[in-house]
Symmetry: C2
Subunit: 142 residues, 2 copies
Amino acid sequence: MASYTQEELTGMVQEAGLRVTGHRLAVLGYLSKVKNPVTVYELVDALRKKDNIDQATVYRNLASLHEAGLLRRLDFNHGHAHYELETGRASHQLVCSNCETIEKIEGISIDDTVKKMLKKSKKFKQTTTHSMEIYGLCKNCA
Amino acid sequence: MASYTQEELTGMVQEAGLRVTGHRLAVLGYLSKVKNPVTVYELVDALRKKDNIDQATVYRNLASLHEAGLLRRLDFNHGHAHYELETGRASHQLVCSNCETIEKIEGISIDDTVKKMLKKSKKFKQTTTHSMEIYGLCKNCA
DNA sequence: GTATTAATGCAAATAACTTGCATTTTATAA
DNA sequence: TTATAAAATGCAAGTTATTTGCATTAATAC
């Protein structure tokens, strides 16, 4: 999606107050290149082809980057998490309830809806960025 | 939320093509009485107080009822699934990204948004019911 | 009622994810 | 630079949520 340069990624990591390591940059770099949220398995698999990275390291990096606000963690009821770069903008996707197909939809806004929800809420008065998953059947499964 | 009579629950199970058992009715009955989606743990805990039900049975009933379209399975990035009755209507909730607070918000519609998303989609041409989770910080955590 | 097939309990197995610990590396200070 | 404190890493082992195998029991169909 975004595809940052190595220098930009380094800057992002530093500004987040984290140390710059090859593995950390690799995780972030990979996520900056894909268009759909990826699973940890996919990430480990892809990074293993270049570096010798352990899955524990991948999990720890995902956790620290997420904690620092650089990543978004998504769940599509597939039994494992998906991650994507945190762009600051909302993240909306269609998810197949039968197979593991997902499709990110860009260019729509539900800010008004979120405002309405907050107005009705008793427990929340603010939100951070949000994600929305709409379930259905993909063309293949329909 | 809905709170059906025993007869109504029985009818729902039969129409779904499933056998009517005490445990199955208990699971469905419990879910028909709570207002927010519940965790499996909460369900097991609550049902254990009345019946001697095994957690494997709870999981299997949740799976069969979900498969039959009577339940909705939700995930709030808490590491465990939540379930609620499938009402046919959309399910919208605010979710705290810090603690486990969730709040179901009723009475809003995002049908237009879903239509827009489908129009932009390449992989989907229909959706079933949907759920939307908006993340933020609850008043307690803010 | 009896047969068929699904439901259940219990224990063991998986899958996703986390942690402990000894060993590098990175960033900071001298 | 070089020394140092703190964080990152690999590896193996541990958790937690969820699933499964199997023998037994109960629900529906005939």
